[in-house]
Structures are given as structure tokens and as C-alpha cells.
């Protein structure tokens, strides 16, 4: 969760952690888009993806983890997710349907991209995914930042632990 672990983790662990980030995102994405056919939805996908980021914090330390674009912009991502879900809910109003009408309507044909169904609930779920991901990463980041700030308070001897690797 914080920098001191940095020195104790081996190169191997660090490399594996870095390598794992992308597959985690892919897995999260799979959970998201297959949510309509299998267990899982935007929420679990968001948590899975954020756990991938958490791994970076644990193994590589805060400085390294905060280099990720997603980490720096976590609250923005959360806000964007909320906006996306809200707009999926509101847009039908302008088309003369009740709030949160999903398209295509029952009985209409679904456009497929491979086996992926292109339907608006997926967009709604995507908003939830972004929100939850932003929430989890933002909360983790806030805790991590506070921890390392406290360690900086602790005085000399801890600085070198904060060095970037």
C-alpha cells in the first residue's frame, strides 16, 4: 500500500505486477461486456480493475502507481461515469420515451459486433464501471497519499524510501 514495501519486493514481483495490470483491465472489460450473459456487471468489473491498480500501489509504491493516467484522474473518471449513466437515463426523455428506456426496444433486432451485443444497457453499465473504478481508485489513492504524507512527517530516514525506483 505504501512506499516502504518498495525495497522489499523483488524485481520479479515488480515485473509481474506491472505485467498484470493490462490483463486485469482486459478481464474487467470482459466482465463488463459479458455482464448480460454471465455473472458480473459494471460494478464487479470496476472493482476488479481497481484491484489491479491497488496491486501497483502495493508492489511498486505510490509514486510509481500515480504515474498511471487513470490514477491521477480517478475523480474525473468517476464523474464521467456518473454523467454517462445519467445521460443514458435522461436521453430517452428527448426521444419521447420514459426515463431510462433502453434501446433497442423489446422485439427489435440487436446489432452484433462478433458475439458482443450493442445495446444501451451496456453503455449504462459502462458508466457504472467508470464510476466504481474511479471511486475505488480515488479512495485507495487518497488513503495512500495520506499514509505517505504521514511518513514524510516522521522525519529523516524515510526519504530514501520514497525515492522512485
Amino acid at each position: 500500500m505504501s512506499a516502504p514495501i518498495n525495497n522489499t519486493t523483488s524485481i520479479l514481483t515488480q515485473t509481474v505486477a506491472k505485467l498484470l495490470l493490462l490483463p486485469t483491465f482486459v478481464a474487467a472489460f470482459a466482465i463488463l461486456v459479458k455482464g448480460y450473459a454471465q455473472p458480473g456487471d459494471g460494478f464487479s468489473a470496476g472493482v476488479v480493475a481497481s484491484l489491479g491498480v491497488l496491486l501497483q500501489y502495493l508492489v511498486l509504491g505510490r509514486r510509481e502507481a500515480e504515474r498511471l493516467v487513470t490514477v491521477r484522474n480517478a475523480p474525473t473518471i468517476a464523474g464521467a461515469g456518473l454523467l454517462l449513466s445519467l445521460s443514458v437515463a435522461v436521453v430517452p426523455l428527448f426521444l419521447g420515451d420514459p426515463v431510462l428506456t433502453h434501446y433497442p426496444r423489446p422485439g427489435e433486432d440487436v446489432v452484433y459486433l462478433g458475439t458482443l451485443e450493442l445495446i444501451t444497457p451496456v453503455l449504462f453499465d459502462l458508466g457504472i464501471f467508470f464510476l466504481v473504478f474511479g471511486f475505488a481508485v480515488g479512495a485507495i489513492g487518497a488513503f495512500a497519499r495520506t499514509i505517505s504524507e504521514q511518513e514524510e512527517y516522521a522525519g529523516p530516514g524515510t526519504e530514501q524510501l520514497e525515492d522512485d525506483t
Binding site: 500500500m1 505504501s2 455482464g35 448480460y36 450473459a37 454471465q38 455473472p39 458480473g40 456487471d41 459494471g42 460494478f43 464487479s44 472493482v47 476488479v48 481497481s50 484491484l51 491497488l54 475523480p75 468517476a78 464523474g79 461515469g81 456518473l82 449513466s85 445519467l86 437515463a89 426515463v99 431510462l100 433502453h102 433497442p104 423489446p106 422485439g107 440487436v110 451485443e117 445495446i119 444497457p121 449504462f124 453499465d125 458508466g127 457504472i128 464510476l131 466504481v132 474511479g134 471511486f135 475505488a136 480515488g138 479512495a139 485507495i140 487518497a142 488513503f143 495512500a144 497519499r145 495520506t146 499514509i147 504524507e149 504521514q150
Partner: protein, 771 residues
């Protein structure tokens, strides 16, 4: 309606509403740009309003939330055009003035230029809200813009936020106008429940006189009167003078206070159905004329004098509404125009004078006609306009007032003359106090931007005196909307002895008498002001605020004193109530143990594990162990969900448990070991009371859970339906489709909570160390 016409009507509103964000954006980019951008938008909005009005106006009426019968119904009728032109036109001049005034004002407090951006943002928001309010035809829409003006005024009055007086004044204005705004909403709802529409024009055709209309109309009128600072809810206005001068000028002439009489005008077709309501307006108007006029004569601070004068001037307007009829309606509209021009000029004069000399009291000022001749002339014209001298637009406002009052009776005519004489006296006092007499203070050459807006307004006042036609036509159009019938007025100079002229003459004589006999009555007037300050409604407001504060302190103290007893106090009665419910319910054969088959063995094992883990969590002392124990309980529960055929829940439960446990451990890391250790070392204190309470709680939870589970309320749930519907929604996982589609609104609420929590967590942690 054709699209271009719709666009024409919407354009003023859109421009006015866009002004605030545009100025804010420009201000974020370069603080210097906020003023020119805002001013340009105000000018654009003014031109758009004028153009649309010239082209004949129009209306836009579209469904907004059809299930609640809410419609977005705006129209650019005469009334809307009048107030929108005032809001944008006066707004434009005030903004020009501010572009020079505000840097000086900020300079006095060593405040950064960027604070000006906030000022322009709120000022333009105010303007946008006023234009919206003027055009709104639907009571709920009206209420929205109404509250928007209250919010904007709150920030503007408290613009000098380091000043406690300004903050208190802003809160007072917000409370007085905001609380009464709720009355407007209640009134609207009463009308809706009776007639099924929020639309004012539709209501005007439907309403019938009766107690229902009286009640609803009274509620709406109270909201309007509070906004227009009428007695007895007038006390917030003089306090609001803590705002920077351009804000006061705008607030008084074209925005906040004008909004009250605008609302009265808008709902006037409803009000005039009820004699009682009109008589109420008559009384309130007369009282405000008297109180405002007398108090204005006693004030020494320039802006205070003007504030009380505003109270009395809007008293006239309300009085005119109360008189009713063609002349009352058109007169009220005309009065608002004349007053707005004159009053705005006088406020801007006060601001310029104070800025130049550093003095804001009449007793410290005098003789400024020499160093500031242009300002003296322009504000002289404005004062003459306020005092209703001939050759100014003000003369006609009083002509209409006298006409309307005469029609009602000699008593009202007398009151009108008396009020007008008071106006003449304090207008003279204001102008003569600043510009005549001995010179007290040196004033240099004032910046042009502080003088020219006053000159422009003064010029308009004079123009209206010479060529009244355009103003009269605008007032007529507004009057027709107010009166809800064709109306026409012919203001003109008549060189004969008609009653109006005699009344005007009487006013001048009486006013002159008042001016010259000042030493005789000034003591009595000050006495009235003193008594008003001691026992007036302001006192009542203050004591009720203090009382509320004390009450909330007491509640807070009681809540904080012993949190655990509070929790117990909630849990125990809840448990007792539930227990009573169980006791009185017939329980014969209700409880079922349920069957246990071989395939349930893993489930039972998991249940045993959960029980052990939670019980262990009550006994652990060290926090890390606690974290591990309670998270293991969570993981086993997740496994349990999987056994119960809920893979979605199981997946999320595992992930959640991981996240919460990690955050818990992170918190442990944040709090020093010493502090944690002290908690862990506390004697376990399995005091009897805690155990007892929790056992009782558990017992009731057991009874409720068992009772509910063995006797479900419904035989079949909607589950089968939902399962059958899932393929229709193009989905295979029924749980996900429920979350995203069937019960999507719940999910929307849920993610809003999550977003709010993120805000809370980041804010709470980012604060770092306090002090």
C-alpha cells in the same frame, strides 16, 4: 409556431442564462476579461429582447415533465418584455459601472482581481434568473427562477465575505425571501390541486372567487411582498446595503426587489378576482409608503436613505395594484420603469461619491456640485424624476398614481399626495445633501465609467419627460397582461386645472413645506425609527434566529453527550416495537424449521463458519486480527451466496470484502500504533448492559427473520415475470438486467451515493492535519 419565431423568443433567455458561465470562463482564463464578456452578453441579451419584442413577441410551450404536468412555458408578452428589458438594460449599465468600480472596491480590501470573476458570475446569473422569471408563465418554472434570484442575491450581498455584517445581511435576505418562497410553491400547489394546471394564463380563465383563491393568492402575495421588501417584511432590504454599490443598484431597480412586483403583476389576473386580496395589497402598500418614506427622511447613510426610499416606492406600486383597474395596472408597470431608471442612477451616484470622497454619510458630505458638475446634473435629473417634477418621466408616474387614487376616493387621493410629498422631501434631501451647501471634502476627477452610466440613466429620465410615448406603450403592453384586458393610458402635459394637476401642485407645496420645516419634525421621525428598531419585525427575526440556534445547540449537545446510549435508545425501542408486533400476531403454525437435505451440507458448514467468525470478531482485541476475522466472515458469506444460486452477489461480495478489508488495514496504518494499542488494551468490559442489549437485539432479529422467512407475505414474487422478460431485454443474466434495466433507477440512485461517498472520502482524507 415556426422555428425562427421560437428561436426569437428563446434567444433573450438563452443569452441571459449563458452570460454567467461565459463570464466565469473568461474570468478563469483572464480575470480582466470577465467584465467585458459579461457586459457584452448583457448588451446582446438586451438587443435580443428588444428585437424579439419589436417583432411581436411570442411564446414557447413544451412539455417538460409530463407525468407531473410541468411545462416549460415561457412567453415574451408585454410584462415579460418590460422586466427583461429592465434587467438586461439596467444590468448592462450597472456592469459598465462595475468594470471601474469593482477594481477600486477590491483594492480597498487588498483582494485579488480574480474575485471579480465571482462577482460577474453571480451578477449575470442574477440577470439570467430575472429574464427567466419575467418570461415564465408556469408557476413551478416561476418558482425555480425565483429561487435562483434568491441564491444569486445571497452571494452578491455577502460579496465582502470577510465582513460579518455582510454575511449576516445575506443570510437574512436569503431566509426572509427563501422561506417565503416556499409559500409561493404552496400557493401554486393549492391552485394546481384545484384546477389541475400550473399555467398562469390557464388558471386566469379557470379561477373563481372563494376561500381557495384567497388562501392561494395570499400565500403567493406574501412571497412577492417579502421579495419587494414591503412592511412588515421590509427589514432585510436596508441590511442588504452591505453589498457593493452596483449590487444594491441592480437589486433595487431591476432585479430582486422588482421581482416581487413582477410576480404580483404576473398573477394579477388571479388576484383581481378577490376583493380581499386587493384590499390587503392596498393596506400593505400604504403602510410601506408611510414607513419607508418617514424612515428615509431620518437616515444619514446615503445607501440607507435610498433603501428606505425603495421600500416606499415599491409601496406605491403595491398600492397601485391594490387600487386595481386599468389605471392601477398600467400605472404599476409605468411606475416600475420610472423608478428603476431614477433609483439606479441615484445608487450609482452614491457609489461614485463614496468612492471619490471616502464618505458615505450625508452629514459628512456637501458642496460637490463644483468638483463633480456632470454627476450633479445627471443625478439631479434622476432625483427630479424620483420626486416627480415636470419635464421628467417621474411626472407621469405620479399623474397615473393620482388618477388611479382619485378614481377610488378622496381618502386615497390624500394618501397618494402625502406619499408623493414624502418622496419629494427625501429626494431633495439626498441630492441637496451631497451637491449643495458648503464643500466638506475634496473630490478629484472621477473615472468616466463611474459617471457615464449615471448620465445615461439621468438622460433617459429626462427623455421620458419629453417624449413619453415609447415608455407609455411598453407600460401599456405590460398593463394589458397584468389587467388581463385591453388597457390604454394617455400621459401628457395638460395646462389646465384638472384634479391630477392640482394634486401635483399640492404635492410640491407640501414637499417644500416638509423640506423647510425639517427641524420641527425631525425629532419625531427619529423617534419612530428608534421605536421601529426596538420592537419592529427585525427584532422578531433576530430573536427567532437566536432561539433556533440555541435549540440546535441543545439537540447537538444531547446527541453528542453519549452516542452509544443514543444508539441503544434507537435499537431498544425498535426491538420492543417489533417484539410487540410479534406478540400480537397469531403464531399458530407460523414458524417453520424448513427441510434440510444432503445437498445442504456445504451450506450448513458455511453457516457454522460464519457464526464462528462473527462471534470471534466480538472477542478479538487487536485490530489486525479483527480485520482478518470480519473479512473471513464476509468471504464465507460470499461462498454462501454462491451456494444459494446467486453468483452475481457472490462475485461482488468477494470483491467488496477485499476492498473494505484493505481500506480498513490502510486506516490502521494511518492511525499510530500507540492509539490503537490503547484501544486494544482497554479492559474488554463485557459489561452486562452491552451484552444484554445485543442479545436482546439479536433475539428480536431472530424472531423477525424467522417469522418473515417462514411465512413470506406473497405466494409468488415478480421473479418469474422478470425471468420471462429478460430475453425481451436482450439479456441472459436476469440479475444484471434487473439492475441495468428493470430497476435501473435504483441503480442510478445507488451510483449517486457512491459518487458522493468518493467526494466525502477524498475531502476527509485530503485535509491532512488540522491546526
Amino acid at each position: 409556431m415556426t422555428p425562427p419565431a421560437t428561436l426569437m423568443v428563446l434567444l433573450p433567455l438563452v443569452l441571459a442564462l449563458l452570460a454567467a458561465p461565459a463570464a466565469m470562463l473568461a474570468g478563469v482564463y483572464r480575470p480582466r476579461l470577465a467584465a467585458p464578456v459579461g457586459t457584452a452578453f448583457a448588451a446582446l441579451a438586451f438587443s435580443a429582447t428588444a428585437l424579439a419584442w419589436w417583432k411581436g413577441g411570442g411564446a414557447v410551450n413544451v412539455a417538460w415533465a409530463p407525468t407531473w404536468d410541468l411545462r416549460f412555458h415561457v412567453a415574451l408578452d408585454g410584462l415579460a418584455a418590460l422586466y427583461a428589458l429592465l434587467a438586461t438594460g439596467v444590468g448592462f449599465l450597472v456592469l459598465v459601472y462595475s468594470s471601474r468600480y469593482l477594481p477600486l472596491h477590491l483594492g480597498h480590501g487588498d483582494r485579488p482581481e480574480s474575485e471579480g470573476t465571482r462577482f460577474y458570475g453571480h451578477m449575470l446569473l442574477f440577470m439570467g434568473a430575472m429574464v427567466g422569471l419575467a418570461m415564465a408563465q408556469d408557476l413551478v418554472l416561476l418558482f425555480l427562477f425565483w429561487d435562483l434570484t434568491a441564491i444569486a442575491s445571497y452571494y452578491l450581498i455577502a460579496f465582502d465575505r470577510h465582513d460579518a455584517e455582510a454575511r449576516a445581511a445575506a443570510l437574512m435576505a436569503l431566509l426572509v425571501t427563501g422561506v417565503t418562497a416556499v409559500l409561493l410553491l404552496i400557493g401554486a400547489l393549492i391552485l394546481y390541486s384545484a384546477y389541475g394546471t400550473f399555467s398562469v394564463p390557464e388558471l386566469a380563465e379557470l379561477v373563481e372567487p372563494g376561500p381557495l383563491l384567497n388562501a392561494a393568492g395570499l400565500l403567493i402575495a406574501v412571497a412577492a411582498l417579502a421579495k419587494s421588501a414591503q412592511v412588515p417584511l421590509h427589514f432585510w432590504l436596508p441590511r442588504a446595503m452591505a453589498a457593493p454599490t452596483p449590487v444594491s443598484a441592480y437589486l433595487h431597480s431591476a432585479a430582486m426587489v422588482a421581482a416581487g412586483v413582477l410576480l404580483l403583476g404576473r398573477v394579477y389576473p388571479l388576484l383581481q378576482e378577490s376583493r380581499i386580496l386587493l384590499d390587503t395589497l392596498l393596506v400593505v402598500g400604504l403602510l410601506s409608503m408611510a414607513v419607508g418614506g418617514v424612515l428615509a427622511l431620518t437616515q444619514d447613510v446615503l445607501k440607507q436613505l435610498l433603501a428606505y426610499s425603495t421600500i416606499s416606492q415599491y409601496g406605491y406600486v403595491v398600492f397601485l395594484y391594490g387600487l386595481g383597474g386599468e389605471y392601477g395596472a398600467v400605472g404599476a408597470a409605468f411606475y416600475v420603469i420610472a423608478h428603476a431608471l431614477a433609483k439606479c442612477a441615484l445608487f450609482l451616484t452614491a457609489g461614485a461619491v463614496t468612492e471619490e470622497t471616502g464618505e458615505d454619510r450625508l452629514s459628512e458630505l456637501g458642496g460637490l456640485r463644483k468638483p463633480l458638475p456632470l454627476l450633479a446634473a445627471a443625478s439631479g435629473a434622476a432625483s427630479a424624476g424620483l420626486a416627480a417634477l415636470p419635464l421628467t418621466i417621474g411626472f407621469f408616474k405620479d399623474e397615473l398614481l393620482f388618477g388611479a387614487a382619485l378614481a377610488r376616493g378622496p381618502l386615497f387621493a390624500g394618501a397618494a399626495v402625502l406619499g408623493a410629498a414624502l418622496t419629494l422631501a427625501y429626494a431633495w434631501r439626498f441630492w441637496a445633501g451631497i451637491f449643495l451647501g458648503e464643500r466638506r471634502d475634496g473630490a478629484s476627477n472621477p473615472p468616466a465609467a463611474l459617471v457615464w452610466p449615471v448620465v445615461a440613466l439621468g438622460g433617459l429620465v429626462l427623455l421620458g419627460g419629453l417624449w413619453v410615448e415609447p415608455f407609455a406603450r411598453l407600460a401599456e403592453a405590460a398593463g394589458e397582461v397584468i389587467y388581463d384586458a385591453p388597457a390604454s393610458i394617455e400621459p401628457a402635459y395638460h395646462l389646465d386645472l384638472r384634479p391630477e394637476n392640482l394634486m401635483a401642485l399640492a404635492t410640491f407645496v407640501l414637499g417644500a413645506l416638509l423640506i423647510f420645516s425639517r427641524p420641527v419634525w425631525v425629532g419625531a421621525a427619529r423617534g419612530v425609527a428608534w421605536v421601529g428598531g426596538k420592537v419592529g419585525p427585525e427584532r422578531l427575526y433576530e430573536s427567532s434566529i437566536e432561539g433556533l440556534n440555541r435549540f440546535s445547540d441543545r439537540i447537538h449537545r444531547a446527541e453528542v453527550r453519549d452516542l452509544r446510549s443514543r444508539v441503544a435508545a434507537i435499537l431498544l425501542p425498535a426491538g420492543v416495537l417489533v417484539g410487540l408486533g410479534i406478540l400480537v400476531t397469531p403464531t399458530d403454525g407460523v414458524y417453520r424449521a424448513g427441510e434440510v437435505g444432503w445437498h445442504d451440507v456445504p451450506l450448513l458448514l458455511a453457516l457454522v463458519a460464519v457464526t464462528l467468525a462473527t462471534l470471534a470478531s466480538t472477542l478479538t482485541r487487536r485490530h489486525v486480527t479483527l480485520a482478518l476475522v470480519f473479512s473471513s466472515a464476509g468471504y464465507v458469506l460470499a461462498a454462501l451466496y454462491a451456494f444459494l444460486g446467486a453468483p452475481d452477489v457472490a462475485l461482488v461480495a468477494v470483491l467488496i470484502e477485499t476492498l473494505v478489508t484493505l481500506l480498513f488495514i490502510a486506516t490502521l496504518k494511518l492511525i499510530p500504533y500507540k492509539v490503537l494499542h490503547r484501544q486494544a488494551e482497554l479492559p474488554l468490559r463485557l459489561t452486562r448492559r452491552k451484552v444484554y442489549i445485543s442479545v436482546v437485539a439479536g433475539a428480536f432479529a431472530f424472531a423477525v427473520a424467522w417469522g418473515t422467512l417462514s411465512q413470506p407475505a406473497a405466494e409468488s414474487s415478480t421473479a418469474e415475470e422478470l425471468i420471462a422478460l429478460a430475453p425481451e431485454a436482450h439479456a441472459k443474466d436476469v440479475v444484471t438486467v434487473i439492475l441495468a434495466d428493470f430497476r435501473g433507477l435504483d441503480t442510478l440512485g445507488e451510483i449517486t451515493v457512491v459518487a458522493l461517498v468518493l467526494l466525502g472520502v477524498v475531502t476527509l482524507l485530503r485535509g491532512g492535519r488540522l491546526r
